[in-house]
Every structure is written in C-alpha cells, then in structure tokens.
Amino acid sequence: MTSLPSARGPKRLGLVIDLDTCVGCHACATNCKEWNTSGHSAPLTDLNAYQAEQRGVWFNRVFTFEAGGQGENARTVHFPKNCLHCEFPDCVTVCPTGASYKRAEDGIVLVDADKCIGCKLCSWACSYGAREYDEDAGVMKKCTLCIDKIYNEKLPEADRVPACVATCPAKARHFGDFNDPESKVSRLTRERGGYDLMPETGYQPTSKYLPPRPGKRTAGASLPREEGGRDSAGKFLRWVDAVLSR
C-alpha cells in the first residue's frame, strides 16, 4: 500500500498559492482547522489549549519571511504551507504499515488513522514539515485536501473546494487539476512562473507557489513644474483665465 500507485488516475489535484497576494491573515489555517477538526481526520487535537506551551494539530501554517534585500528593499512575504501532495512522496513509501498512501485517482496523500502505529517516520521523511502528529491520539494526521469536502455530494457544487481556498479573502489560493493544462492552477503556474519548494528533494510537489512580483515603479517619473505659476502680483496665471462651468 505504501508503494506509490503504479498506474496513476486521470487527475493530479493540488493548490497554487500566490505569494504576491497573500496578506497573511491566517484564514486558510483556521478555516482548515475548523473544517477538519470535525472532518475526515477528526479531531485536530489541541494540547494545553488554555495553558502554557499551547500547541495543536494544524494542517496549514502561515509563516512570514523577509526576502530580497535589506531595509526598504526587503519584501515581507506571507507564506502559507501545507502538504504539497508530492508526486513521489517519501512520507508514503517509508510508512511501514500502509497507513500512508497516495490515491491513484487524484494523487491526494492520505493517512489511514486506523492503520497508523504512530512511528512518526513519515514526518521525518517529509522535507516540508507537512505531517502533523496527534500526540493525544497517537497517530499521524495531515492535510487531506479536504477530501470529505471536495467530493461531498451533500454540499452545493460551488462549495466543493478545500476550506483554505474557499475562505481565502484575498483569493491567494487556487485549487484544481494540474493534469488539465487549461485548469486555473495550470494556467497560473504557466503564466506566473509557479515553482516547486525544495525541488532538490525530487519529491516533485504537486502544489505550486507563485513568486512575489516586482513592484511597479515608473522609473524617474516626476511632474513637469509649470513655470510662471504666478505673476509678479502673486496672481495665479494658470487658473486666471480658465472658465469652468458648474
């Protein structure tokens, strides 16, 4: 089971995260949490919820980095991160029990909690830190790409997208099928130079990041100063003769 699917199905589902647009509001993180704490991998346990050293299971975490230089040149970048549903994920193949698996049909990487022995090896194998161990339940959990939402026939069709995408106020997250060259995610990746995180792992993440765009500045622009703004008597020549009708 933890061998990767030998024959892949028609779809390769994943996300595109637009770092040029994300304002870092954490909506994706908390909306994910509220959907999933009662969802497929329920609960997303919180430890020390009202004490010191509070921590819990989150499938989506938002970092903030500074990049691109110093001082005014530095760009603040909000960076949401969740499972990238890699094409060749070691987190699946290292699993000794078959609890971790990659779905042949759409490439979603899941954990079958009933089989998980909680050895945490998959979390060691994930370069991205996308695996989340539930210390209380003793099993590994992770982003399901909201598998109980995206296919849920009991929800209106428009709602069948991952919670993080549906809720994103700035529309910095997009969901779709990377095998379809005309899908929004494929198009955005093409047009905006979508890239892989840590390509050197060889895991080939499905989900892509869109880089921050260089800011627009009209180089050297300044307004021509209208000379003779006033006459010697201090009158504003420019507007003296204008006849402007109400």
């Binding site: 290292v94 699993c95 000794p96 089989k115 194998a125 830190g129 921050p212």
Partner: protein, 317 residues
Amino acid sequence: MHPAFSVIFFTTASGAGYGLLALLAIFTLSGLLPATTWLGFVAMAISLGLIGAGLLSSMLHLGHPERFLRALTQWRSSWLAREGVLAIATFVPTGLFGIGWVFLNSTSGMFAWMAALSAVMAAVTVFFTSMIYASLKPIRQWHNGFVPPAYIVLGTMTGALLLVFLARLFGVYSPVFGILGIALLMTGWVLKTAYWRHIDTAPARSTLGTATGLGRLGGDVRLLEMPHTEENFLMREMGYQIARKHASKLRFLVHLLLFAAPLALTTLTFWSAVPPLAAGAASFGAVVLAGLGVATERWLFFAEATHTSMLYYGRTM
C-alpha cells in the same frame, strides 16, 4: 532531531546485540568458541536480551504499540518494515542456533547453517536499521554514505567488546577476538571521525532560499514570524538544537569513551604482564565505557541531525 531515549536505546542495544550475535555465530563456526552450555546460554541471553530490549524500546516510541504487527506489511517500500520483518525473521535461525548450542551443545551441521544464517541476517538487520535513517532525504546528517557502515561497524564493534569480555569471563579468550575488537575500534573511529568531518563540511543542499523559493528575490531569506508563537510538534520533534560548543564536548567524550578508552583497554590485555583478572576487568571496563560512549554517539547522531522542515522556522541545516 529530538534524541528520544527509546530510539537511542533501540539502535545501540540492538546494534550491539546483533553484532554480538553475528560474532558468536562466526566464531562458533570457526571453532574459536566452544559449544558449551553456559557460555552459549549467557552469550545468547545477552545478545538476544539486547536485541529484544531494543526492539521493545522501539515499540515504546510508537503511538500505537499494540498495532506493531502492521509495521511488517510494507517491506516492499519501507526500510522500517524491512527491518521489522528481518528482526523477527532472524529470531528463527538464531533460536535454532541457540538451541543447538545451549541445549544440544552442537554448532555443526544444521546448526552451523543456522549460525551462518543468523550472522548474515543480523548484519542485514543492522543495515536495514541504518537505512531507516540513511534513506531520509530531509536530514543530511543521516542521508549520507557514512551512516550504514557506521551502524554496522559500531554494532559489530560493541558486539566484539562484549565478546572479548565474555570470552575472558568463560576463559575462552582468543587473541583473535582482541585483534578483531581493536580492528573494529579503529575502523569505527576512522568512520565516525570521517562522518563528523563530512557533516561539518558538506554544504547543505537546501536553504531557506530553496525551501521557500524566495531566494530568487536575491539576498538572504529571514524568518520574521513563525506560524505559532509556541513550539509545535514539528519543532519538538525535528527542531532539537545543540550548541556547537556542547556538541564538540560530547564528540570528545565519544572519542574518549567509545574509541580511545576501549582501544587502550583492549590493547592493554595484549601486554603479557597483565594478569588474567585485570584483563577481564579491562575488557569489562571497555564494555561499560563503550556502552556509555555509543549511547552518547547515538544521542549526538540525533541531536546533531537537522531536518529541512526546520529551515522554515529559521534554522540552518
């Protein structure tokens, strides 16, 4: 990586156990160890005891130890499953080898085959254990060519020191054991030194620039805010940090306890002036010091290991 006691104990104890097992098998086959009951019983008990305790300890590390049998199913892809399968499978030839030795005082014929099989399987099991770590790409201190030989050599080496001690205890000591021990100690020392040099100098393949892709903006990437202000599971598991100063102290301790002292003690016994009792004490001392040394070595193996996921938390690899 968090240096969990259970895993440190598992890898060091089972490593020594398998090392001892393999040597017992080899030297019974070669006739350097006699097929006597008490020697067999004690030696096998120590070997199997270390292996068993190690395996049990590794189970304590699990969230659901009661489901451990599941861990045997995915041997096609998972080094951990392979290790589990082989560890259990090894008990079959080892059991027969032990029965032959202890109860039938026989290490020949079918039992010789079992001994040989035990030795091979023990070595392969340790190799599989090492591959659990060596296969993990996110951890550069593990994902390198030094790790499997180091596991095999350190396992055999600690096994050899146990063998020397047992042989002294039962009066069946052969200089071959001592020479082997010294050879392994020197090999291990060289390997471990080379390993440290490697992890100290090999450039990290991943940086925060590649991890975020923001290196393309030019300049360094700095962490401004973590996603959570307190430590989460990932940071507790992968974010263990050891100060360089502290690490070099501990490395010195490893050089001393695991290699230099046992080497000196084992070499000492070759000096003819050493009375047998002192030689026995020295070999016991070598076992104890190496035991402490290998635990320290393994603690460092975890503590010095860095995980690429921690790049996101502002750590360097």
